[in-house]
Symmetry: C2
């Protein structure tokens, strides 16, 4: 039986960045990495979009997203220094476009909301949209240019973070954590599915949608929200120059180009299907339809990859950070649609909590405790009714 | 340097079946097999459709297609006997449907033509169509049921033919033929790309779209006609029970189920793109769109494979069979859209020609000599103009 000061569960962006930060703080860190090809960190499009991703009802989350967005430039520089490789960061902007009158009305309401929140976004005519992105369909009615919404090649970032973590002394253990072990409500380590045990007084749970499957921990209300994502290769054809988002007949689509021009990510379906891993005819059809509606030339691109990922969704779409009832267990999961964006702030506050026992105020609204409520009467009735 | 009585170039259905027939006739046969995963024989949907595949202008080809269709039951039985495995044959019917008034008018004209040709086809109402195939969209306007158009799982057939050929003594040589060697206009063997030489007084060219790339042979007017094909997996959902073909807004789509129910082939684009091997966003989009228009439930199927194949097209869409100016070289290529269907008759007439020197009358209209014509004046003018 081997041990460490801290075991970090999950080899995606959140887990790897957190392990790196903990090792920087001088701790002996073991990072348990499952099957990385399944990680949302590899499937995601990598939008860093606190502004275009916000909704009217998620102002608390907006503050956290903005806090992480502000950390991104420094974080990316540190990753480059520590890994010797690129971070994947691509400094925006993002263009949100409307394809019909309904979309345009929706976009105008959204622009008004952003203005009231003091968030920078420039309203563009159809002609102005196409001046920024010549590949846009002439049918685009108008748009919103958001300079602060960037993107990151999340696969490049994951590779760089892995290198940074290893160079800083993080030990990688391959496997899946079956159980967090504890004694008198105090963490003592983890046991892997293959029977391996790792002793540690501190465990960080950063395994995304799989957090709810780990035994021996308090109930973590995380569920997999399936997303199908395509990667297109323009080949010799031009690709879009910036991230384009659109609502097309009620479906949201985003088209995220990479700096090197050989990859354009098109995402994503949003499906409550558990861990269903099927790339479906209907999902791919809708993505291709919506992408060509916005960028007609995309029909000529090659399909390089079709992937399924699972966003770790929570009841309020916000992450779950910090302590829980089990002493020594720190949570860093539930990042839903914002995992890449939230990597810097999550790694910072999680590592700080593990080393100091103090949760950064920016993370306080996102502790597990927010879900501790008396069940509402209607829920009790439903529960009682379920025996019928 | 090794040798054989006959070298068959091409490890697809046509080449393998021909090699098998030649070995059955007592000849020492070497079969040169390139990269089987690229063979049209593996990508094809496997329709055996002399009737629904016919057009008003291709009556000569229709006769050959029917001749091969008639040989199919016996051929399949022989394959089963010789290989010990299944042949992949699935005995029809095929349902051709119309989705709108234009399609319906077109289908009626086609039905009239079939009737004049004495080809059996039953006109069905929308309700009758759905009685035959409950998964059809209610929007289907009517259809044509063709009992004699069957299908074959071409991958299963290729495996069975390979086993049959090996058991009958065919030797497989892995590689690509660079050149057919000859001496005084008489074949002496082949040289592979890796420099290997195989001596033989008889060579059969059955390498589909690649026939035109072989050096040392007369000009064979074969070109690759790119087709993108999808394989869907219904999983636990029901799949269609019969082959469904449709014209949807001018696009033809076909949906071919396999007996085991875990694969539904959706094809195919028709593109003059040379050997372009890209699965494109536009191609897949159109196939998925047209498939769901006919069978809405297909949207829920998983995408198991996306493939590109190249039909060996010819100027008149008919195959090139039999002798050519180079003595000892027999052609068996150019099967375009009908390769699976034409496998039995092609193997029979090609093996017979090699062993007897007599071309079966059924194959006579398809000899290379039919393309020997004086260039038309307009072509001469175009050639002269091309120096400008």
């Amino acid at each position: 039986m081997s041990g460490a000061d801290v075991v970090v569960v999950g080899g995606g962006l959140i887990g790897t960045a957190t392990a790196w930060r903990l090792a920087q703080a001088g701790l002996d860190v073991a990072l348990v990495v499952g099957e990385r090809s399944l990680a949302a960190s590899r499937v995601a499009a990598g939008m860093l979009a606190p502004v275009t991703e916000t909704t009217f009802t998620e102002r608390t989350l907006l503050a956290l997203n903005q806090a992480s967005g502000e950390r991104w430039p420094t974080f990316a520089d540190e990753v480059v220094d520590a890994s010797g490789g690129p971070s994947g960061l691509r400094r925006g902007p993002t263009l949100s476009v409307a394809s019909d009158a309904d979309d345009l009305a929706r976009l105008r309401t959204f622009a008004d909301y952003l203005q009231r929140q003091g968030l920078a976004a420039e309203r563009l005519t159809s002609r102005e949209c196409r001046a920024h992105e010549p590949l846009l369909a002439p049918t685009v009615r108008g748009g919103l240019l958001v300079p602060s919404d960037w993107s990151c090649d999340n696969r490049v970032l994951l590779e760089a973070l892995t290198t940074a973590a290893e160079r800083t002394g993080v030990r990688t253990v391959t496997g899946f954590v079956k159980r967090v072990e504890s004694d008198a409500d105090r963490v003592t380590g983890v046991t892997l599915v293959d029977g391996t045990t790792l002793a540690a007084g501190s465990v960080v749970l950063a395994n995304g949608s799989w957090a709810a499957q780990v035994e021996g921990v308090p109930d973590v209300p995380v569920r997999p929200v399936k997303g199908q994502v395509l990667r297109l290769d323009p080949g010799r054809l031009p690709g879009p120059g910036l991230t384009v988002r659109a609502f097309s007949r009620g479906n949201e689509v985003y088209v995220v180009p990479r700096e090197h021009g050989r990859e354009v990510v098109v995402g994503a379906t949003v499906e409550e299907q558990g861990f269903d891993d099927r790339v479906t005819a209907g999902g791919v059809y809708e993505l291709l339809r919506d992408a060509r509606q916005v960028i007609p030339l995309s029909a000529e691109y090659a399909i390089a990859e079709t992937n399924v990922g699972w966003r770790p969704g929570t009841p309020d779409n916000a992450p779950i950070l910090g302590p829980c009832a089990l002493e020594g267990l720190t949570l860093a999961t539930g990042h839903h649609r914002n995992g890449v964006l939230l990597t810097p702030v999550t790694a910072d506050v999680t590592a700080a909590y593990v080393t100091t026992g103090v949760l950064d105020p920016v993370a306080e609204p996102f502790a597990l405790g927010r879900f501790d409520r008396e069940p509402a009467p209607t829920r009790r009735l439903r529960t009682a009714g379920s025996v019928a």
